[in-house]
């Protein structure tokens, strides 16, 4: 343990002890016999766990790990060592991508020259390979992404203002490699003294939606998307929006629709930008990690062996069209707003066989760690920014969420360990009541290290007429939580067979207790996650 960690731990213990000695007995607060701590990290880093042939090997649910392509159509060599806005590579990269459909374009370094910089790029039925040691930067010239005239303009609530940095489309497009794609969104835009994130932050007060470019988006009707091993930093807005289905429309094996395997997302990538601004995750607003289903349907996918540490949802499954048959396995999350489903859940889709599909169905999440302690998130963040698992919608959206399983999940220091809510914001009116069906939580544990507050569990259907469930809790253990930290209503909840250390109760809650054993809670270890390098004069 480093001196800093020791100091923080002593301070934490002092404040926890003081809090409980002084306040809890006096106000009749939650009775927690003993506050337990699970700190430290596993010997194996998340990055090492992602090594080829290690993660996911032998997992029968998954397809074989992807490999790098062998059919290189063009290799482009860097001619610069920094993202020079006066020497863009857009034209030559796009020309290569356009001329190499069905094959691969590889970006490589040449000694100290290891940078490429471009504006909007289309990856249509081609694979872009960013080689190890090479970085593809997104230009900071907003005019290169201009769509409606509002791109890069402050104070405009126009979510469609900009084109994407990269748009993938067609058949089996991909982005692979051990290199980096960097959106530079914390740095000032060309000709301005503000950054993409400052544009977004300016609309935080009105919950407005800035039209910043998405780092990687996919067009409707794209099939067989592949993202493999690439590292992504600092998108103006969202890292990856996924819309992809199997080329033949049939999900014969998970991954036929899309595969995201072994990628690393770290945003912000630095603590301090070139202007000296402190860039915490809270500063990087609207930077979801991977969002299947945002633009159109996404089916038959695998998201495996990834490390994601960002500001917004690490993964957000958007059911505004239809998402189904998705496996999310062997992933490690750092900072972010959670492993989320919704709030878009209203989608309907009629497949060619005439069958209607809705919302989010048939999702299996397993072997997941979510660690809130990997770095500071920013003094102005709120508890709503710190979530483990959440499934959310509201009556203005409606839709179906069912047959979802979260299995073997370890979380640390999240304000909301589990949140299931059919009306996550009570301001929104409507009569499209969300239908939350079968939600399974198996071998789930939340532990505490640095956090001083109890984690909260929320399991809420909408009303006596519109209940949620069955919500199955099988060996779900939330450390350091008292009964007051469990909110439940209008839900059918089944406990067991494994032990769950809380019994939800509330208006309209029906609990079926089938717990049979008193077995051990899931053992949790958290790998060391990638984090920005500390500035040289900081304590470490």
């Amino acid at each position: 343990m480093s001196p800093l960690e020791r100091l923080l731990r002593v301070a934490r213990d002092f404040w926890v002890a003081t809090f409980f000695l002084l306040f809890v007995p006096a106000c009749g607060g939650p009775a927690i016999a003993e506050w337990t701590y699970v700190c430290g990290t596993a010997p194996l880093s998340a990055k090492a766990a992602q090594a080829p042939g290690v993660c996911g090997a032998g997992d029968p649910n998954l397809p074989p790990e992807p490999t790098f392509p062998t059919d290189i159509c063009q290799e482009l060599t860097s001619n610069k060592s920094f993202p020079d806005e006066n020497n863009l590579d857009s034209a030559r990269i796009q020309a290569a991508l356009t001329g190499c459909k069905g094959r691969t374009v590889k970006l490589v370094s040449n000694g100290h020259n290891n940078a490429f910089i471009a504006g909007h790029l289309n990856i249509d039925s081609v694979i872009l390979w960013v080689d190890a040691g090479t970085t593809l930067f997104a230009s900071l010239n907003a005019e290169l992404y201009q769509k409606t005239g509002s791109c890069g303009v402050p104070g405009i609530n126009d979510s469609g203002a900009c084109n994407d940095f990269i748009t993938m489309s067609g058949t089996r497009p991909g982005i692979v490699g051990d290199g980096i794609i960097d959106g530079q969104a914390g740095e000032p835009l060309v000709g301005h003294d503000y950054s993409w994130w400052q544009l977004s932050g300016a609309l935080r007060e009105i919950n407005g939606s800035i039209g910043n470019p998405t780092l990687i988006n996919t067009a409707s009707n794209t099939t067989g998307v592949l993202l493999y091993r690439i590292t992504l930093h600092d998108p103006p807005k969202f890292h990856v929006k996924l819309t992809s289905v199997p080329p033949n429309g049939i999900c014969e094996r998970k991954g036929d629709g899309y595969i995201v395997w072994g990628i690393t997302i770290l945003t912000p990538r630095r603590y301090i930008n070139s202007q000296g601004l402190f860039m915490t995750p809270h500063f990087a607003r609207n930077t979801d990690g991977v969002d299947p289903g945002t633009t159109d349907i996404a089916t038959c996918g695998v998201i495996a062996c990834n490390t994601i540490s960002t500001s917004d949802d690490q993964i957000a499954i958007k059911g505004g069209h239809w998402v189904s048959d998705l496996i999310i396995a062997h992933n490690h999350f750092g900072t972010g707003h959670g492993m989320s489903i919704g709030s878009e859940t209203y989608g309907t889709y009629i497949s060619p066989d005439g069958k209607q599909h809705r919302g989010v169905e048939d999702v299996l999440v397993y072997d997941l760690t979510i660690d809130g302690d990997s770095r500071a998130v920013g003094h102005d963040s709120s508890s709503a920014d710190s979530n483990g698992i959440r499934v959310k919608s509201d009556p203005s959206r409606g839709g179906l969420v069912t047959n979802i399983t979260f299995r073997d999940v370890c979380m640390r220091d999240q304000a909301n360990a589990i949140l299931v809510s059919t009306a996550y914001n009570p301001l929104f009116p409507g009569n499209l009541i969300p239908e939350f069906g079968t939600l399974n939580f198996e071998n789930v544990r939340h532990v505490t290290c640095m956090e001083l507050k109890q984690p909260v569990v929320t399991l809420e259907g909408y009303s006596a007429r519109s209940r949620a469930g069955p919500i199955k809790l099988d060996n779900v253990v939330i450390d350091n939580m008292g009964p007051q930290a469990v909110a439940a209503e209008f839900a059918d909840i089944r406990l067991g067979p494994g032990r769950t250390n809380f019994v939800p109760s509330g208006t309209g809650v029906v609990v079926t207790n089938e717990m049979t054993g008193n077995g051990p809670a899931k053992e949790c270890v958290f790998p060391k996650l990638p984090a920005p390098e500390l500035p040289p004069d900081w304590l470490r």
Binding site: I206, P426, L427, P429, N431, G508
Partner: protein, 289 residues
């Protein structure tokens, strides 16, 4: 500790004074009274199949005069507490009004002095539940935050939106098209399910353009930019001489609309007049660019 808000104390004092005064008068103002009523016409607590469902926690009331079953709401340490009722209109032939109410207290209080437009009435609520969650017979509009509370305007009947976001209304790409009946104005809460859900998101709409169907007006509205702190220009659809499709503003201060809303272009000078609320202001007619 039980704290009763002044706005509930004031009517009680008034009622007491009226009662005292009534001792000397033959005309006593009486609000009326309410009683539990199992009249099936109230359709209270019915499940989808038409049978009574006790788990919904609803009970029928009928009231005489202006009485309501939910008037006795309290605030306990700042948390509202009272039953919540959906109005059911006249019951029977003796002029009684019917209500379908929760059997248990909710964290909402009937608000006798709300700004809700008829036929809706107000509740002030605390916590994460919308009123429809606790009383499945009621329909409420967009919640409006007031400190720790959320205010709702509700009714036992769903109120028509009056406006519909419509792609068939042709607008520039940065504006959203709306079609509204009569004098209704677009509101962000009426955005489709696929649109952003913003707590305080508001629209800036121009002078309406009459649709082919005379019952409707069309609007091309701008999802408004942040107004700088101190900005004083507000939307005003009644600026004299401002043609359909143009944006009218009333500015209370020396600032101009284009300083508050960047895409506005106001080439004509402002002139003195009154805002839609009736206060002196400089009026502008502008175009979206």
């Amino acid at each position: 500790m039980v704290r009763i808000r002044f706005r509930y104390v004031a009517p009680a004092i008034a009622l007491l004074l009226a009662a005292i005064g009534g001792a000397c008068s033959s005309e006593i103002a009486v609000n009326g009274s309410c009683a539990i009523d199992s009249d099936p016409a109230l359709a209270c607590g019915l499940a989808a199949d038409g049978t009574f469902d006790a788990s919904l926690g609803l009970v029928g009331y009928s009231c005489t005069g202006k009485a309501r079953p939910d008037e006795q709401a309290m605030y306990n340490e700042g948390v509202p507490s009272g039953i919540m009722c959906a109005d059911r209109g006249p019951v029977g032939s003796d002029g009684k009004q019917g209500y379908c109410c929760t059997t248990a207290a909710t964290q909402c209080a009937y608000d006798p002095v709300s700004d809700c437009e008829q036929p809706t009435y107000g509740y002030q609520c605390y916590g994460a539940n919308r009123p429809e969650s606790v009383n499945t017979a009621i329909f409420c509009g967009q919640g409006v935050k007031e400190g720790d509370y959320i205010n709702y305007c509700c009714s036992g009947k769903q109120q028509p939106d009056g406006c519909l976001q419509s792609d068939s209304v042709r607008c520039s790409p940065r504006l959203s098209g709306w079609s509204c009946t009569g004098q209704n104005h677009p509101r962000a809460e009426q955005l489709g399910a696929n649109k952003s859900r913003a707590d305080t998101y508001h629209l800036l709409c121009p002078v309406p353009v009459p649709a082919a169907n005379p019952a409707y007006n069309n609007y091309c509205c701008y999802p408004a930019a942040l107004v700088p702190i101190g900005g004083s220009c507000v939307e005003h659809r009644g600026v004299p001489g401002c043609a359909s499709g143009r944006f009218g503003f009333a500015c209370y201060g020396p600032d101009k609309p284009q300083e508050n809303y960047l895409p506005m272009r106001c080439t004509e000078p402002g002139f003195p007049g009154r805002s839609a609320e009736g206060y002196p202001a400089t009026l502008y007619c502008c175009d979206f660019t």
